[in-house]
């Protein structure tokens, strides 16, 4: 790529979309390098600026116990997102968790699935889909375990085509026949109460099936190959990846090109993601971000911006209230993204999130704020405490007006009451931080 325009604003946009935001250090460091080098680092890791120091996770003084303690599976993953050296891998793991949404299975199975998704996050889609199809949590969730030749269950076959690989271009007949080809997985409860899944050839329907107009003695591997080889698959998957990163529908020309990249690279995911991250569309409107942060991105981004780690469990109920609790997607189709995240209620929970964030280390103690701060200094102080988030010029003007009002030495209105300047300076810091973290500008990236 030619030496193109590459600024801190570009880096910040890229790190929000490919991760959970850039620190000030990261933005400076990568702005001095090229777009290609920056994307290389996101794709492959390696040397970069020193990472921020985030505290290791501790709840009530103890390390996390994700397999047993309520909500600590969620905290375990949030901690990975906050402290990872590979933000794109976590962002892609979140993508696959949404894409292959699984819920309500035993905690160890869900955690094992999460590790499997992370391992395959940027690798071969064929390998990923195979691992997903054999994944115990998925097999149990979509009733593929114990779908036998005598009683084939269509649940997995349907979602495999509709949600996982194609979206369209298949018939009810294809689903029924694929369900027969997918038979053979059996579940077995072990002595310790856990469930194992095994393949039992005797339960597999060995007769001929007709899928997408082709006839064969298909088994589950063949069905996956047929789906991946279906002409709808490449456009389907690259479009979904595009929307995840860019936030707007893909244009036909970009879809054709990305589909070709995907096929040419033997259905590997990384080359497609790389193209998307380098695409000019990702950097449109740098001064006017417009993609609504998902609750997970909102919370993790806020933790990173404030230099906080996972030291309290409030994030669990807050993410639930905002509508995106990891390991608990609402259905097999995952979450609805974009403006659907926002309702009056979820917005209220987003506001409350800052009340939790601005405790402890980030709280403003009474008497801690210099009384001599000018309104502008108060804003600079607040901005740097919460990671210097993007704000529009309109927002800046309104925050300045607020600080000016609170820090003025106007007398109390007749019969009214004004706190002393120290109290107002402290509260001014608190409200500025609250509004910087929760105002409309903070909801988009």
């Amino acid at each position: 790529m030619a030496r193109d325009h590459w600024t801190e604003a570009h880096v910040r946009r890229l790190f929000w979309r490919a991760g959970f935001g850039a620190s000030t250090k990261q933005a400076r460091y990568w702005a001095q390098r090229s777009r290609g080098e920056t994307i290389d680092w996101l794709m492959h890791g390696g040397a970069g600026p020193p990472r921020g120091k985030f505290p290791a996770p501790r709840i009530d003084g103890r390390p996390l116990d994700p397999a047993n303690e309520y909500g600590q599976d969620v905290l375990w993953w949030l901690d990975k997102m906050v402290r990872t050296p590979r933000p794109l891998v976590e962002k892609m793991t979140l993508f696959w968790h949404d894409h292959f949404a699984t819920l309500d299975q035993d905690r160890p199975l869900q955690l094992a699935q999460n590790k499997m998704l992370r391992r395959n996050a940027l690798g071969s889609f064929r390998r990923l889909l195979t691992d997903v199809t054999k994944d115990p949590a998925m097999l149990l969730f979509l009733s593929l375990a114990d779908s036998t030749k005598d009683e084939p269950n269509e649940n997995y076959a349907r979602e495999l085509m509709e949600l996982f690989t194609l979206g369209a271009g298949y018939s009810e007949h294809d689903i029924r026949e694929a369900a027969r080809a997918l038979t053979g997985f059996r579940s077995k409860r072990r002595g310790d109460g856990s469930v194992a899944v095994l393949y039992d050839a005797k339960a597999h329907d060995t007769k001929s099936k007709r899928i997408f107009g082709k006839r064969g003695n298909y088994d589950y591997r063949d069905v996956l190959d047929l789906c991946i080889g279906h002409p709808q698959h490449a456009p389907f998957l690259v479009s979904k990846l595009w929307e995840y990163f860019v936030g707007t529908p893909i244009e036909p020309s970009a879809r054709r090109r990305l589909a070709a990249v995907y096929r040419r690279n033997d259905h590997r995911i990384a080359p497609v993601v790389r193209e998307i991250l380098a695409h000019p569309a990702l950097y449109r409107g740098l001064g006017a971000p417009d993609v609504v942060k998902s609750p997970v991105v909102y919370v993790v981004g806020m933790l990173r911006a404030c230099g906080e780690g996972i030291t309290r469990s409030d994030w669990v109920y807050l993410l639930d209230g905002m509508g995106q609790l990891p390991f608990h997607p609402p259905s097999v189709a995952g979450w609805d993204w974009g403006t659907a995240w926002l309702s009056t209620n979820t917005m209220h929970v987003r506001f409350d999130t800052a009340n939790v964030m601005l405790r402890d280390r980030r709280s403003v103690k009474n008497g801690a704020t210099p009384k001599a701060d000018t309104p502008r200094e108060a804003i600079t102080r607040a901005r740097s405490a919460v990671g210097r988030p993007w704000t529009s010029a309109t927002t800046d003007a309104k925050l300045l007006k607020l600080a000016t009002t609170l820090l003025s030495d106007d007398p109390a209105p007749p019969g009214g009451y004004r706190q002393d300047l120290q109290a107002r300076a402290d509260m001014c810091q608190r409200v500025l931080r609250q509004l910087l973290l929760t105002g409309p500008d903070a909801q988009v990236h």
Partner: protein, 451 residues
């Protein structure tokens, strides 16, 4: 190898969601961005410039309620996953055919509904006054067996989208109740359309009318830790000013709208929050314990009885009716809560003296395959919905589908189009023009739903 009870099923909506789930890429007209383009109501032109927080929204709510105290209220309750008709209302006059179809999961000796040849799932007798069965026997339920639409789509996400929008097309649209508000609501009162939920139901998404979501009356109010007095008032004024400021694309605009309306809803609901052990919405009726569904219905009954101008509302059941496997166990686990909560809701509305102006419509996105599989049923057609209330026409409002004559996909034949019911509800219950909400409404036909 012995069969093990498995926890499975392709959908479970227990966690948080009321939203529809659907694929969102280019294969159809329905891109996710289009589908979700209507987050919260747009086009608000009000702004409370005064420090006094109770703004025009409150006046609008009070004015709504005062000008039309008997305005009908429509509550839509969603049972996610696709409720099985055959095991919910059992055709006793064709029990042999039913037993053959449901050889693995048959409901034995179901209680008989009054004056009918139908049995009802035993779990639907639980609750106040005999639960759903009690409501039916008392003439307060009209069942709609065989409800669906022509050429049913067996995808949860497509089918649900059709029901949510009232349109059988894969194109984006606000929800059918959101469109009803666009045509018949006002531009000031977000509580006119309420999702009792964390998020807004797609049924309630509007093009321009303000709408709200709240899971309880408490907790909608705003506070900032260790800030009070003038700094708090000024901060919230700035919050509203940031929300009211122009500029931004669809994403930022949606954030601003949500921020603005969230503050309005907080102000409107604040008087009804539990405080100092007193619950202003307390009910005299006993709802099921440990049931978020029951809690939300109880909150709704309370709010409907207050002068808030609620006209349409949505509540989603938590249960999973997508019974591909273990249908017998799952229905035995899920249906009691439905029966208990909905019968308590009805009794509560009556106790609060508002039952005559509330009609509840219960729906699910499709029916299930008449032939069972191993231990459950796959996606099918011809499901079950019902209307309940003191003013509904009771009994069987549609024909029970034949258990001998199936469609080309071996599914039950559809006997009533859900859009016919929507049109009938809009005209007969909400007393407004169905054509303003449902395109081609005239051709949909009507059936009498209201007494």
């Amino acid at each position: 190898m012995p069969k093990q009870p498995l926890s499975c099923g392709c959908d479970d909506f227990r966690a948080t969601s009321e939203s529809t789930r659907r694929s969102f890429v280019g294969h159809s007209q329905l891109t996710r961005r289009q589908a979700i383009g209507w987050g919260v109501g747009a086009g608000l032109s009000l702004y409370a410039a005064k420090a006094l927080p109770l703004s025009r929204a409150l006046e609008a709510a009070a004015a709504d309620a005062a000008s039309n105290p008997d305005a009908p209220v429509l509550v839509a309750v969603f049972l996610p996953g696709g409720l099985d008709l055959l095991d919910s209302l059992i055709p006793l006059n064709d029990f042999g055919a039913y037993s053959d179809l449901h050889r693995n999961i048959r409901v034995d000796k179901p209680p008989l509904l009054r004056d009918s040849a139908l049995g009802i799932h035993p779990s639907l007798t639980q609750g106040v006054g005999g639960g759903i069965k009690g409501l039916y026997d008392a003439g307060k339920i009209g069942f709609l067996p065989g409800i669906d639409y022509p050429n049913p789509n067996l995808s949860h996400f497509h089918s649900r989208h059709f029901w949510e929008t009232g349109l059988i097309v894969d194109s984006a649209s606000p929800g059918w109740l959101g469109r009803w508000l666009d045509a018949n609501g006002n531009q000031d009162n977000p509580l006119q359309g309420m999702s009792l939920a964390y998020g807004l139901s797609p049924v309630m998404r509007s093009r321009s009318a303000p709408v709200a979501s709240a899971s309880s009356a408490g907790g909608a109010d705003f506070y900032i830790r260790d800030v009070y007095g003038e700094p708090f008032d000024e901060a919230m004024k700035t919050w509203s000013a940031l929300a009211k400021a122009g500029g931004g694309g669809p994403g930022l605009k949606a954030a601003k709208r949500a921020a603005f309306l969230a503050k309005e809803v907080g102000d409107l609901l604040a008087p009804y929050a539990k405080a100092k052990g007193v619950d202003p919405l307390a009910s005299s009726i006993s709802y099921p314990s440990d049931s978020g569904f029951g809690d939300r219905l109880q909150t709704l009954a309370g709010l409907i009885s207050k002068p808030l101008g609620i006209r349409v509302a949505t509540v989603d059941a938590p249960a999973d009716f997508d019974t591909h496997a273990n249908q017998r166990t799952k229905l035995n686990q899920s249906l009691p809560e439905i029966s208990q909560a909905l019968s308590a809701f009805q009794a509560d509305l009556e106790a609060r003296g508002v039952a005559d102006r509330v009609l509840t419509f219960v729906w699910s996105e499709f029916g299930r395959r008449p032939h069972d599989n191993d231990s459950g049923t796959d996606h099918g057609a011809g499901g079950l919905a019902w209307v309940q209330g003191t003013k509904v026409r009771s009994g069987l409002l549609s024909e029970y589908p034949s258990l001998h004559d199936f469609d080309d996909e071996d599914n039950l034949k559809v006997t009533v189009d859900f859009r016919t019911i929507y049109a009938s509800l809009i005209e007969q219950w909400l007393r407004t023009d169905a054509g303003a909400v449902l395109p081609g409404a005239r051709a949909l036909g009507r059936i009498p739903i209201v007494r």
